[in-house]
């Protein structure tokens, strides 16, 4: 099976780099609307994330639901226009 790209990233908003205001971890973010968010992490960002480190989960047995500091950083970036949010 060939891994194929998601056309929505080409036709709609792209993934954009963003640094977390808390730990500086750099991820890629996309917002298709105010309430939709995609976040692509890499290994470096995962090891930089403080909340992730503090969580006892994320070792495969549980699920790390997401970082609240990163969530806030994304919301702020969207409000400031750093992360583009398509008009609905």
């Amino acid at each position: 099976m060939t891994v194929r790209p998601d056309d929505r990233l080409l036709d709609g908003a792209p993934m954009q780099p963003l640094c977390c205001r808390q730990c500086g971890a750099e991820v890629e973010v996309r917002k298709a609307s105010w309430h939709q968010t995609s976040v692509q992490w890499n290994a470096e960002a995962v090891s930089a994330c403080l909340e992730r480190r503090a969580s006892s989960l994320g070792d495969g047995s549980g699920v790390f639901p997401g970082c609240t500091a990163l969530r806030d950083s994304i919301a702020r970036a969207a409000l400031e226009g750093v992360i583009a949010v398509p008009e609905s």
Binding site: A32, V39, V46, G60
Partner: protein, 427 residues
């Protein structure tokens, strides 16, 4: 009849169209269509539509290898009846047998001597004895004894699978490269499965005649939960990381799909579900139903193993926790009820799968989940460990915007209720 068969072929070509070069394939595709039209197989409107900007469905053949990972074969108790069991999995026939010391073993079912089926044989002590000439095979895959021979010949070894028994379930490790399971790739313990205040497993199995990718796709498919399963998602998020793929979903009840609670009965308000695939085939769902007077906690297992490229065995298991509001008997009754409910859910999926085509290039709207990223994650199980790319295992999060779906679905539910009321039928 002829026409129907031919049209079905046109929409589901044996050779995927559009994969062998853009220009050439298009010509041959149209040529093929023209032939079909001339033979009266395809109606003409389909051909006209084929001329301009039509999105073509693409699908590679199903993979020729089977996913690397732990696969659940079902309740382990079922294999402990002193008899060998036949299991068709990974394109092979396997024998599952419990040796005298208690270990459950999985071997290739065909005896290396003359090819007889070991699963039709007999368990003798630690070994499975072939029904043809009584050759004795151990759980490690080695021939231990041939009663009528002085010596076991060289190379008397068959394929053996690593097994694991946990929480009342039997797992086999499949790896086309033949490596043992790495320590970090585990199936987490299901606490309730061994606790007294939870019910026993209510376990169901069905054979599904399609490639198993279809069932895995469900984990990102929010909208089908409304249209196919009559539930009402209001929150939906996916997280993929390492060998784990998660779906977090919250939902409301569907008053147009379920009988409303009678006076005095607890009313179901909604549910919260956190479901993770641990590897390619075993999903554990922490599923809580919220009632007006209590939370009902359950764990749902949704697991499968491939029989071959075009069929798989689908398992569901459920356990329910007792509480001060839910007695032991009530919890057991609830587990039975939920088990039947889940089986109906499988059947709803099967009705779709039976008639759909395999599609590698689904056309998505922004309110669909991350199908492509899920398949990127899923691909890690179909390549050698050395070929697993970082992008297949790196953490990816996708939170869906449910604003529009919820708005539309609320309206649809109200319309359904209003129509029924107008027809004088009960809600």
């Amino acid at each position: 009849m002829m026409v129907r068969r031919a049209v079905a072929r046109a929409s589901r070509p044996s050779r995927p169209m559009g994969l062998d070069g853009p220009a050439g394939s298009r010509t041959s595709y149209l040529g093929e269509l023209r032939t079909r039209v001339l033979k009266g197989w395809v109606d003409v409107t389909a051909v006209e539509a084929g001329n301009s900007g039509v999105r073509r469905i693409e699908a590679e053949a199903v993979p020729t290898r089977y996913a690397r990972g732990w696969h659940c074969l079902g309740l382990s108790a079922g294999f402990k009846d002193g008899r060998p069991h036949t299991v068709s999995a990974f394109g092979q026939k396997l024998v599952v047998f419990q040796s005298g010391s208690g270990a459950i073993n999985v071997l290739d079912a065909y005896c290396r001597h003359m090819g007889a089926d070991l699963s039709k044989g007999t368990i003798k002590g630690e070994e499975i004895a072939c029904p043809f000439h009584d050759w004795r095979w151990g759980g490690d895959g080695r021939c231990k004894k041939i009663p009528y021979a002085r010596r076991v010949p060289l190379r008397a070894r068959t394929a053996a699978w690593t097994t694991m028994e946990q929480d009342g379930l039997l797992f086999v490790w499949n790896d086309p490269e033949g490596n043992p399971p790495p320590p970090e790739v585990t199936i987490p313990r299901i606490e309730g499965a061994t606790r007294d205040d939870w019910t026993e497993w209510v376990w169901k199995e069905i054979v599904v005649e399609t490639n198993c990718r279809e069932v895995v796709d469900n984990i990102v498919d929010m909208a089908h939960f409304f249209y196919v399963h009559f539930s009402f998602p209001t929150y939906f998020k996916n997280i993929f990381e390492g060998h784990v793929a998660t779906q977090i979903m919250k939902g409301n009840g569907r008053p147009d799909a379920r009988r409303p609670a009678k006076a005095g009965e607890p009313q179901m308000l909604g549910n919260t579900s956190v479901a993770s695939y641990h590897g390619p085939s075993f999903m554990i769902d922490d599923l809580t139903y919220h009632y007006d007077d209590m939370d009902l906690k359950s764990v749902l297992v949704n697991a499968h193993y491939p029989i071959d490229g075009n069929s798989f065995m689908l398992h569901s298991g459920i356990i329910v926790q007792q509480s001060d509001k839910l007695s032991k008997d009530a919890a057991e009754a609830m587990a039975q009820k939920l088990g039947d409910f889940i089986l109906r859910g499988f059947d709803q999926d099967v009705q779709i799968w039976k008639h759909k085509t395999r599609i590698d290039n689904p056309l998505l709207c922004e309110e669909d989940g991350p199908v492509y990223q899920l398949r990127r994650w899923y691909e890690q199980f179909y390549v050698d460990v050395a070929d697993v790319k970082p992008e297949m295992v790196e953490r990816f999060e996708f939170e869906l915007d449910t604003t529009r779906p919820v708005e539309v679905w609320k309206q649809e539910v109200e319309d359904n209720l209003a129509r029924r009321a107008a027809e004088g039928r009960p809600a």
